[in-house]
Symmetry: C2
Subunit: 247 residues, 2 copies
DNA sequence: CGCCAATTTGAGGTAACTCAACTCCTGTGG
DNA sequence: CCACAGGAGTTGAGTTACCTCAAATTGGCG
């Protein structure tokens, strides 16, 4: 990332959905060349977000969605008394900011967990364009719907799973998404702390750490700090599906 | 399905968003008369769902959204091993079925908790119409975004609140929504069992029952089975905001 | 009127939490 | 190059909020 003193650099001229290697994961899924060209004029800017910085905060006016181009984000909501909850982790090709549409203000914080870049998608223009192109309209609806379905999955996890099951589900989800992006599903580097994992999974960081250790003792994982090697994916899968299914 | 003996009756001729008393809560928020007339042609049928019956099930093909006209629903997802999780309760004016857009199949079950009626909104037509009317498009997007934000709130609840806080948040949410619909916020009848409340809140039914009893002992509620009277709404509010804020 | 599901309540168990000490990395400056 | 600081992670010991199992009670509905 062309790092000057501030590390921030915009490259509005080089943004192009039509030539983006993420286009089959991102908003432009299934668009024709015509449509891609129109998308290119709309998605005109990119924004760099250094590790630890926020892309937006709860309360900020909502103007744009953001597509992760490189890097890794978390989103968190917080209650009045300062408790906060990580609601998701986002990687390349995933959209940020959907929470802001309903009230014209963002309702959560989005924080880069490593130096990252996002494509800025002005929402008004996206709505205008999606009234022209039903494919784009449909894709936007699908993305929002899938976010709802994902959230329901997290509710199931938080509402009814034990610590080991939660961590197993989390790891499987991560490896699957990495695999979709061409990475090995057997080896990954966690971009988040134990505390952030714990917040997402409704556990304390010590419990996350202990569970990692247990998985290592059981020969399911090899854990070296944030470097994880998955030795027995099926064991993880079995944990998620519930051991009752093994009978 | 003109069911005489069971008391079920469809009235396709009388369905009309333009004359519906829920139009300020439901999809047509802020539409002009012109637009309402077009909506009327799209939302052409109503469907009755007797208590205990499903409106749709996970796996069913997704064709329509549904607006609750009368009655009360729950939605639940289930994992392979049979665990299930109530993901929400829906009352008049709220939309059901958004989960189905992403995969063209529903991903949860929707069950009527009392005899109910819904308006059927064919989704293809809704998309077509919302390409014509940006107000309708915007409203649909707002509804989906708010569902995402609501889900994040539930995650916060499940991930970081104690039993009393969860139940307090649940009751406040219910009374607020009832108040929006013109009911007293101090008195309500629960349409769901303790077990369903527990599933939604990530608690066992016994814990829900005990927490109700505790609230009654503390003078916060009067509990007679499913008839609840809220004696001290501020006490509930204080629980939700965290007692730390009281310092 | 009696049945059955829903709810309440009690007693004991346990998964996860809290608190605390220690270790391991990473980065920084002498 | 090494010393050191500080954040992140691990591990142990004791506690607790919620769960599990069980029994008693209530209330709605045929």
């Amino acid at each position: 990332m062309n790092n000057t003193s501030s590390g921030i650099r915009l490259e509005p001229f080089k943004v192009a959905c039509s030539s983006c290697n993420l286009r089959e994961l991102c908003l432009p899924v299934g668009m024709s060349n015509d449509q891609l060209e129109r998308l290119d004029t709309m998605v005109a800017t990119r924004r760099a977000v250094p590790r630890g910085e926020t892309l937006f905060r709860a309360g900020d006016p909502f103007l744009s969605l953001y597509a992760v181009r490189t890097g890794f984000f978390k989103t968190c909501v917080s209650s009045e008394d300062g408790r906060d909850q990580v609601t998701g982790f986002q990687m390349a090709g995933e959209l940020l900011g959907l929470d802001g549409i309903g009230t014209d203000r963002h309702t959560c914080d989005s924080v880069a967990l490593e130096d990252s870049q996002v494509c800025v998608i002005p929402f008004q223009q996206l709505e205008d364009l999606s009234r022209e192109f039903s494919d784009l309209q449909r894709q936007l609806h699908k993305i929002m719907s899938r976010e709802i379905v994902r959230d329901h999955g997290v509710m199931l996890l938080l509402g009814s799973m034990r610590a080991e099951e939660r961590l197993a589900a989390f790891l499987l989800n991560l490896t699957q998404r990495l695999q979709t992006r061409g990475f090995s599903p057997h080896s990954l580097i966690l971009r988040m702390t134990r505390e952030e994992i714990g917040s997402y999974l409704g556990l304390k960081l010590e419990t996350v750490s202990r569970t990692f250790s247990k998985f290592q003792d059981d020969g399911i994982l090899e854990v070296k700090q944030r470097q994880i090697r998955v030795l027995d994916p099926q064991a993880l899968q079995k944990l998620v599906n519930g051991s009752s299914a093994a009978c």
